[in-house]
């Protein structure tokens, strides 16, 4: 196809790694006109997140969140997933790379395999499951986990009896079990060549192998587990089905300890960096463990509590106060098992140096991340430079760009980070690629050509029912013939048949043929779950000219044959009931039109700081006109007062470049000294009036309203000439006022943060302090710097600078919020009195300069802008994103995005990342000429409505609204079809398409009728 285009750039992208970050990038790109090839080493996509039980700080189930994304990526017309695959070479340049991919043999033909799992049942070889961290078992032919995508099984060649027999004669049970003939012991794998415009690397990291630290006893003492093992223990679908028990004796542990920083922040034994997420996941695990078993007494042994993310500190406070989690500052030196009991003695040094021993029933090691063992070769393959730690080299100003143009990086491979930041980078890298390949957008994607839809209006139902055997998956339990016979004379049913695999290609063709021959106008397929197969079958009947909503899937496998094995009679009866219910619903189905709305391909960005400008440039490079509204008279925002990054880069230079680039870009209109006056509309069609009189029509909006610095009132600020903020110190240094020998700088952390009413970490202040401390020390080693802190939160690779500061002689003294330092003026100096927990006594220190590390606040306009665009703010005043894990730049209402400090405190690189992510997400919307609305939405009958506002008050998406005539109307574009409105409406004015009350009532009737015991 690319031959047809004039572009020299390819409209396709290679994504290496199918974790949550890679999937996000893939979906964003594929949804906005790019062909995506995803290469994944494992037999399924999903990455690390699928192994997790729940996520912090909301306690959302990881699988619930990721599974729909996997299904979506797996089924996407423009995403090709290559599993068990690795890139072996890359040639070419940005815009046109040639990539060779080696695909390992799967021994199962993906085209034939239906994922039924018959083979797995028959396979006699059990092996420890890596997915369950060897706490459980799997077969030699297996799927990585039950919700795997693709759900094609794979044979583990190292374990398979047949493959390890030189003659391949032994066993072959799976081959016999497979009715689809998908097993291929002769599979040799293959090599494929891909031609792509850009490459995204998201291979993730591997976990630190804690067995290296022998003194902690992993692999030696059974009840010492790694945190990822504990994650599987907690998982309801894990090896212990969510029951917290000890591997040694299945006893329920009471005292459980978590040891932090195992493999992280450790120069001698392991990795020097901070893995960023362990403090929080340990907190989460202790909470969830406690929720599973209230007798558990969790203790977390830590050095520094790094709860730097949005609402993290509150989460830790909850763990302490509501769940009774004990947090113990300590260095753990060794763990020994008590012979015979499996209990563990832990030796540790408390903060004041005293040596303690404590007994635990179970110990969890909070292991960190490190680059894959083959990271060096990996980097070489893609021709990118790395840091000495083998992380890819990136810049804080371009955090997703590698040293090789056109090759981007995302996720924890770029640096340790948690899920939302990974997702954010996924969108961010998508945004970057969209800008790079803008002109090639849409050149390689395909769209299905479909026959016109048959008009079935007014026709009596002619339902065709196809009952699937699913090999023997269904038919070994459910008597298919009986089902066929029972359904035959149901009203409206004109045709019934059975099929071996409804989802196999030949049977799909048969179904299409039958629709035509029998002139069917409704189709019911009785097979497996609609969650994975509904879309497939909908497409099938659509290809036969039927509206896709004239279809219903009766699940007689997951919800019948599989869970009632051996009870053939009742299972058959139940299956009949299930099919009859589907038929009853089908009878009342109507063709649904998927409405579409036009999109104004322009974007409005509120805020002209780094976030706003970065997003603007990316979107403008993608080819979408952008309007920036900036309240101040000039662009720049808060970063105007920042001179260097922690890494030492010149921020002012960067800012100058950005401003120039924005001003020069023909696609960007800047409105300085202006604010939003009024706004209206919905995704694709917003109209915003500005105070400078201009009216902007736009399809998307990015709220990049930014933040401000807290103006301290404590510690003599504003009263003593010796007291500065970090920002003021930074400015002095930048202006060449060098520290003098013997001068003492005392820095106080968490000024205006992590305390009521601002119970959150401002995230940047620790780095500011470390940065300025290093600067002072480097400018004059004779000057003295002390940092009085609560927890030093130099997370991720920033840990290096913490170490550098200490090496330069910066002194760190911890304080507690209950015992804050006291400051008094004494002559031309200030005296700082603080408690030293290591020495266990009070210190009185004189300082020439007291430097306050002040926190961040959302910009005062956040509230007003939020109210105008009807998006919520959290209690701290920051914008509340659609979902804290998986939709970190979206708002619940489509077409609105957030970036920068208005979302939460963050560093420059993170702001740039989020801004690029917003540009990626907005790019998805703006790249569509028209947006399609799902057919499954609530329909509002205005004539029945009395505008009682119940719906308006409960709808999570803001689709009901008060129209110009003062009565309720319903914006179907915003509707997500959840039906909460229909549930609450006292006038029955709302009905959800395909879940209408009459359909549900018909299903209830059918459910009852099919029970012979009931007489009615």
């Amino acid at each position: 196809m690319s031959l047809l285009s004039n572009s020299t750039k390819r409209g396709s992208v290679l994504i290496v790694g199918g974790g949550i970050g890679g999937m996000q990038a893939a979906l964003d790109l594929a949804d906005s006109g790019f062909k995506v090839h995803m290469v994944q080493r494992d037999p399924s996509i999903g990455g690390t997140m699928v192994m997790l039980d729940k996520t912090f700080p909301t306690g959302d189930c990881a699988m619930c969140m990721i599974s729909p994304k996997m299904v979506e990526a797996g089924r996407h017309l423009n995403i090709d997933v290559h599993t068990l695959a690795e890139v072996i070479s890359v040639e070419g340049d940005a815009g046109d790379f040639r990539v060779k991919v080696k695909v390992a043999p799967r021994f199962v033909d993906a085209d034939k395999c239906t994922g039924c799992g018959d083979c797995e049942v028959k396979c006699p070889k059990k092996v420890p499951s890596n997915f369950d961290q060897k706490l459980g078992q799997r077969k030699a032919i297996y799927s990585l986990f039950p919700q795997a995508v693709p759900n094609t099984r794979a044979i583990d060649s190292s374990q398979c009896i047949c493959l390890n027999d030189p003659d391949k004669k032994r066993c072959r049970l799976c081959e016999k079990a497979c009715k689809a003939g998908a097993i291929n012991y002769e599979d040799k794998g293959k090599e494929i060549e891909l031609n792509v415009g850009s490459i995204i690397l998201s291979p993730g990291l591997e976990l630190y192998d804690a067995r290296v630290r022998q003194e902690l006893g992993l692999g030696r003492w059974q009840n010492v587990v790694s945190s990822i093992q504990f994650e599987r223990i907690l998982s309801a679908s894990g090896p212990y089905k969510g029951v917290v028990q000890r591997p040694s004796d299945q006893k329920h542990p009471v005292k459980v300890a978590w040891i932090q920083c195992v493999g992280s922040r450790d120069n001698r034994n392991a990795n020097p960096w901070c893995s960023s997420v362990c403090c929080m996941y340990a907190t989460k695990q202790s909470i969830i463990a406690k929720e599973h078993d209230k007798n558990i007494e969790p203790t977390i042994f830590f050095m520094e509590m790094r709860a730097f993310g949005k609402d993290f500190d509150k989460y830790v406070e909850r763990a302490k106060n509501e769940y009774g989690v004990r947090y113990q500052r300590a260095m753990v030196s060794a763990i020994r098992e008590e012979p015979g009991t499996g209990n563990l003695f832990m030796k540790y040094a408390a903060e004041d140096g005293s040596l303690m021993t404590e007994k635990f029933d179970m110990v969890v090691l909070s292991v960190g991340f490190q680059p894959h063992c083959d990271a060096e070769a990996f980097a070489k393959t893609f021709g990118i430079e790395t840091t000495p730690y083998l992380f890819p080299k990136t810049s804080p100003f371009a955090p997703v760009r590698t040293s090789r143009e056109g090759v981007f990086v995302t996720g924890i491979y770029q640096g340790p980070k948690d899920i939302p930041e990974t997702v954010m980078q996924g969108s961010s890298v998508a945004g970057s690629v969209m800008a790079l390949l803008a002109e090639a957008r849409g050149t390689e994607t395909i769209e299905k050509e479909l026959p016109p839809e048959k008009d079935v209006a007014g026709e009596a139902p002619r339902i065709g029912v196809f009952v699937c055997h699913c090999g023997t998956n269904i038919s070994s339990t459910v008597n298919i013939d009986e089902v066929v016979a029972a359904v035959k004379d149901q009203p409206g049913v004109t045709y019934v048949t059975n099929t071996i695999y409804a989802c196999a290609q030949d049977n799909q063709d048969m179904i299409k043929q039958t629709i035509k021959e029998q002139n069917l106008n409704r189709v019911v397929i009785a097979s497996c779950t609609p969650r994975t197969h509904e879309k497939l079958f909908q497409e099938t009947i659509r290809e036969a000219g039927l509206n896709k909503y004239l279809f219903d899937l009766a699940d007689i496998r997951e919800q019948c044959s599989w869970c009632h094995k051996g009870q053939n009679e009742v299972a058959t009866k139940k299956a009949i009931g299930i099919v009859k219910m589907s038929v009853a619903k089908s009878r009342l189905q109507e063709p649904l039109k998927s409405e579409t709305v036009g999109v104004t391909p322009e974007c409005l960005i509120i805020g002209g700081g780094i976030a706003g400008m970065t997003a603007a440039l990316s979107l403008a490079d993608q080819g979408f006109p952008v309007h920036i509204v900036e309240k101040d008279s000039e662009l720049g925002g808060l970063v105007k007062g920042v001179y260097r990054t922690l890494e030492g880069l010149d921020v002012q230079e960067f800012l100058k470049d950005r401003i120039e680039a924005v001003k020069e870009h023909p696609g960007i209109t800047v409105h300085t000294g202006a604010e939003v006056k009024q706004t209206d509309g919905f995704v694709g069609n917003f109209k915003t009036l500005l105070t400078d009189g201009s009216a902007v029509e736009h399809g998307a909006v990015i709220l990049a309203t930014g933040g401000i610095e807290y103006q301290p009132t404590e510690y003599l600020y504003g009263q003593s000439p010796n007291v500065l903020t970090q920002r003021q110190l930074e400015k002095r240094i930048a202006e060449g006022e060098n520290p003098k020998a013997g001068e003492r700088y005392i820095m106080v952390q968490c000024v205006g943060s992590r305390e009521e009413p601002n119970q959150y970490c401002s995230r940047v202040c620790c780095q500011d302090a470390v940065k300025n401390a290093i600067a002072v020390k480097q400018l004059n080693p004779e000057a003295e710097v002390m940092i009085i802190y609560r927890d030093i939160r130099t997370y991720g690779l920033r840990e290096d600078f913490y170490k550098q500061a200490r090496d330069l002689g910066v002194i760190f003294i911890r304080y507690d919020v209950d015992r804050k330092p006291e400051v008094a003026q004494s002559g031309n100096k200030v005296t700082v009195r603080t408690w030293d927990y290591m020495l266990n006594r009070e210190l009185s220190l004189e300082a020439d300069w007291l430097v306050l590390s002040t926190g961040l606040r959302p910009h005062p306009t956040t509230d007003q802008v939020g109210a105008m665009y009807k998006v919520t703010r959290n209690p701290d005043g920051y914008f509340l994103e659609a979902h804290v894990k998986l939709r970190p730049v979206d708002f619940p209402s489509e077409g609105l995005f957030v970036a920068g400090l208005g979302h939460a405190p963050k560093n420059i690189d993170e702001t740039v990342t989020q801004a690029l992510a917003a540009s990626g997400r907005a790019g998805v919307v703006l790249s569509h000429k028209r947006l399609a609305v799902s057919g499954i939405i609530a329909k509002h009958k205005r004539e029945l409505c009395m505008s009682c506002l119940s719906c308006l008050r409960v709808c999570p998406f803001g689709s009901p609204y008060i129209a110009e005539d003062g009565k309720i109307s319903h914006n179907e574009i915003k509707c997500m079809g959840c039906g909460i409105c229909a549930g609450i409406c006292p006038a029955k004015a709302f009905q959800v398409n395909n879940f209408r009350d009459d359909q549900i009532l018909a299903m209830i009737d059918a459910a009852v009728e099919s029970e012979p015991g009931v007489l009615n």
Partner: protein, 88 residues
């Protein structure tokens, strides 16, 4: 002992309904309203994991349990269903 305690727990005497004999040909008929994204997915998983459970439950899938209407529940009972649960 444990068995006795368990049995005692299981005997559920209704204070609302009049006492009655259970006909021999009766089997429980239970309807479940399940949210597509949570409980319905959990039911799928139960199947995938081949967990065996009572066949008396039939599921009606909803886009979200918020959609569940009072009348759905009442009509189920009116039609003679023995139990209803919603899961989301």
């Amino acid at each position: 002992m444990a068995d006795v305690a368990e049995a005692a727990e299981q005997i559920l005497v209704s204070t609302v309904e009049a006492p009655h004999d259970t006909p021999a040909d009766w089997t429980p008929n239970v309807l479940a309203f399940a949210c597509h994204y949570c409980a319905f997915a959990a039911a799928d998983l139960a199947g995938v994991m081949r967990l065996s459970y009572s066949p008396s439950v039939k599921i009606i899938r909803l886009p979200c349990t918020g959609k569940l209407d009072h009348i759905h529940i009442l009509s189920a009972f009116e039609k003679g269903v023995d139990g209803v649960f919603a899961a989301g």
